[in-house]
Amino acid sequence: MVETLITLAAILAGAAFLMALYRFLQGPSSADRVVAFDVMTIIGITGIVLVAYMEGRGIYLDVALVYALLSFLGVIAVARYLERGY
């Protein structure tokens, strides 16, 4: 049961990742690409948690913590650049 759920989660995350990647490459405006970047960050956290579960190592979750707390900074950097903030 759990195996099926994990497989399903991995497939869904992969599909979402591909869609976000398409938007990143195609996105007509800068805002589209920045939001696609942020979405891929969130899916990356999902990927880290999945890897931690499949390898059976709880300590991998520390990486997800760092990822989650720092990756939103990139989006703020681009947003501040676009509004001439620094």
């Binding site: 390898e55 059976g56 190592r57 300590i59 991998y60």
Partner: protein, 119 residues
């Protein structure tokens, strides 16, 4: 299988980075290409240290110290890459500072305008 895929990707990243750094004309774009090549080198070194079916070199309840030698991967490439990434950020900062000074001098980032050392 994972190792081969990662190794091939690392090599392709190095090639893309070198091609970009050689063909771009804008200094900042060359620096971006350098960081891509840097990432490729790091990926190759980590992939060489990976042994299939083993786990990370951190001992805890799931990997007791007694059976460590049979269950962990090589920690030395990881230590190397860890420091290489940090130094890579320092190198990038240095390159960006020089690009800023060059722009201040010439008002341009086009590499063709900097011809003093051309032969």
């Amino acid at each position: 299988m994972i190792v081969q895929v990662a190794l091939a990707t690392g090599f392709v990243l190095i090639l893309i980075g070198i091609y970009g750094a050689l063909t771009q004309r804008n200094l900042l774009r060359m620096i971006v290409a350098f960081t891509v090549a840097n990432s490729g080198v790091n990926l190759v070194i980590v992939a060489v240290g990976y042994l299939p079916g083993r786990t990370a070199p951190i001992l805890d309840a799931t990997v007791p110290a007694a059976e460590a030698a049979a269950r962990i991967i090589d920690p030395v490439p990881q230590a190397l890459v860890l420091t290489a990434i940090v130094i890579g950020l320092g190198v990038t900062a240095l390159m960006l500072a020089f690009a800023y000074k060059l722009y201040e001098k010439r008002r341009s980032l086009d590499i063709a305008r900097f011809s003093e050392l051309k032969w």
